[in-house]
Symmetry: C2
Subunit: 152 residues, 2 copies
């Protein structure tokens, strides 16, 4: 009987631990978001707007300064236009914070966008950005919303 | 012995239920965020920038278009300046989404800011915004980050 009690006790303890551990997936931290930001930036450096747009969720929104809210990955890519030679977009997150559930987080920081004007002269736009990162159903992370404005 | 077993079983079952229920607070939805947005807007209508700034967390950031990242509730309030007669700021969220853990959410949408120029003529600025809402340690909800840009 003592063994039966022990077996039941261990079983219930295991059940307790399993149930207790289930609702809260391990809280992922800002390191996850900062890695995403770094990958996002590298993809942009490598493949321009194609690399940039790849990081958006299918139902994402892009809130560019001076324009309307652009909804959907495809529309966002089209709205970005052509990645011309000499363009570069780099950014630096100053904050990254994740929800306790590890499925939603945000970053914000500063960016520098270098391009050329119609005469081919280099132009630099410096600004701020905020990005919402959302874990997708397949476990991948995508941008749910990206927004930029002027001034650092 | 059967009674002892039952008592232990019931105890462990209770412990299981308690532990299982603890980590996951009921997932709050977008309705919570939309209510906050509404309260935020009402406070601004009633008390101008004082009402607006009250909704920011002590360690919040404000990313206004054309300016630097302003950190901290007090600095944010000071940076907003004076709420002049005739000013109004209204907004309309188009999306509100909460993390599964119910402790972090975001909204974005459009705003209309009405003010007067130096000659006293009415001026209207239309734009977009994004707000990060974060549940504080005391259970209240505050703005962790607010950002605006131009164009709707």
């Amino acid at each position: 009987m003592k063994i039966a009690l022990l077996v039941i006790g261990v079983f219930m303890l295991t059940a307790t631990m399993t149930l207790a551990g289930k609702p809260a997936s391990p809280p992922a931290g800002s390191d996850v978001l900062l890695k995403l930001e770094s990958d996002f930036e590298k993809a942009t450096a490598a493949r321009g707007w194609d690399g940039f747009a790849e990081f958006f969720a299918d139902d994402a929104a892009d809130l560019q300064n001076g324009g309307p809210i652009v909804n959907g990955k495809q529309a966002i890519r089209e709205n970005l236009g052509q990645w011309a030679p000499g363009m570069s977009l780099t950014w630096k997150p100053v904050k990254a914070e994740m929800a306790a559930s590890g499925d939603l987080g945000y970053t914000y920081g500063t960016f520098v966008f270098q391009t050329k004007d119609k005469e081919g002269k280099p132009v630099t736009h410096s600004g701020k950005y905020a990005t919402i990162w959302k874990k997708q159903k397949d476990g991948s992370w995508k941008v749910a919303m990206d927004m930029g404005n002027a001034g650092q």
